[in-house]
Amino acid sequence: MAREIYQAITDGILVGGVYALMAVGLTLIFGVLDIINIAQGIMVILGAYLSYELAARLHIDLFLGLLVTVPAMFVIGVVIQYAFIRPLRGRERMSMTLLVSYAVALIIEGILYETFGADDRQLSAWYVTSSVHVFGFYLPYIYLFGFALALLLVAALYALLYRTGFGRSVRATMQDETAARLVGIDTNRVAAITFGVGVAVTAAGGMVYGATNSFNPNSGYDLISRLLAIIILGGLGSIGGALAASIFMLTLESLVDIWQPTWAIVVFYAALVIVLVIRPTGFFGRQPVRAQ
């Protein structure tokens, strides 16, 4: 029994790392642009499909393929932000961007259905199916690599945010857009690039997700609702919070899964609701989540 628990915890942490990859981009977008990008879920799936195509047609290794998919998703993100999100103005901006991102998600989902059909796919490679045997536990290589990739990307994001001039602009815009503009920061550019970065990170998340789960165009819904729960729990806009919350939630789900697989996912959402009742700002929430 104890053994199962330890395995579950380890699984939870590793899978949590994968989810962190996807959640971090989402929370970053919120922090800078103040919008909830509902399309993030389907973007992950898109990233998975892109990796799939590269692997299936050109036989490119999944991790190497990231060198193509990540920049590609970055460009897609920038284009979406520029075309559909930037023009939105007015007092209803928040709800409008939410609906727009939902609409974009629908369109992408429809396109994926048309292009790839509704069948399940899964990415495969030698490291997907084999694991390393440590202390009697099975640690699938893909999860280890994925977790390492997650740490790498989070570290890279921190470096970007805290060690570069661009990162400073991003943080300034996060705190006060008007003030940032007054000191000469091109907030439109910052917004576009941040959105692109947030989406590009999902390419990496998509690859690992696609390798560890079978997916089809419909998988986006479940994914986005989990990601939303994670970033709310971790605190909207907090990257560290997204990482912590991912690991926490997935470990929790993994543990409940031992007893009651069908209820594991409900626990996920229930945890969100409970935490919000006790602590409305989430673990590391920056802004007060008070009714505005």
Binding site: L88, I107, Y113, S225
Partner: protein, 344 residues
Amino acid sequence: MSKGQILRVTGLVALLAAAVLFPVVFSNPVYTNYGVYTLVFVAVASAWNVFSGFSGYISLGHAVFFGSGAYALGIAARDWHVTGVGVFGLLPLAAAVGAVIAVPFGLIALRVRRHTFIVITIAVFFIFQLMAYNFSFTGGSSGVDAPFLPWQASTYNNPFYYITLACAVGMIALAWLIRRSRFGLQLRAIRDDEDRARGLGVHAMRVKLAAFALSGAVTALVGAVWFFYLTQVQPPSAFDPLFDLSVVLMAFLGGLGTVSGPVLGALIIEPGQLWLTANANGYISEILLGALFLVAVLLVPRGIIPTAGEYLRRLTTRGRAAIPTASATVPQAPDPAPAQEAQR
């Protein structure tokens, strides 16, 4: 009554008459089917708007009420052995279920910022969908079936048409009354500046919760009717994410916070959706729905009704100021005596 008012009332009466006579003129069940579905959405979009449009708290989880109402009716009919027309008598129960769910739902969800509120509604939506799949009393993935109605196929739709018409008209009237009332005013003040409204004595939580419960009750009621019409309910149809998105789009397209906006939005979009589902590949309709959304948001961001209203206003005032300018009402020249005092 002024000429404008007489015109408006006549127009409404004519519209109502047309709606009532619709099944008589277009008696083909295909058309009345369109009618039922459209009226379902007119009612739900209107109910949704009374809460979300007026208060500014966008709910993406109203399917929770819709599906719960459907299941409530089905489960009650099944467990209490109600059959035939008597099932309609259970409708108030469905509405009550909706209201009862809204209370804890609202108490948790309405305490947080608007961004988070939206996410909570999504989370609760998924919780309910999962519960529907996993609980035995909801019938798992097979769902619940409605009792058989021994009606003729050619006129089967008509009673449902009139019931949904009653729901829709009732909801529209309710929305109109609320908008004119103090309750509606408080909701809209909350939407503009909740803290300031609170500071002026508005009991924000009570007001929001009341609107939420009302909206939920009506949505649940309509959901129950819809279930009976379809004769079955299952988790994916009762709790369908596209349902929420459609409702939001309808209210948005017509104009959030107006009374006629959601009606117009539903009248435009629902028949379109039905046609697409019947005649086109299901996925194409998804793409089109998304594309329509984008077009709506970018071209008529405030909705058709407000934009049209402003357009008309511009036509009728034709460049002249609609209201007197500042100099007419605020004194311009300072009184000499007080000015002296002010400068001492």
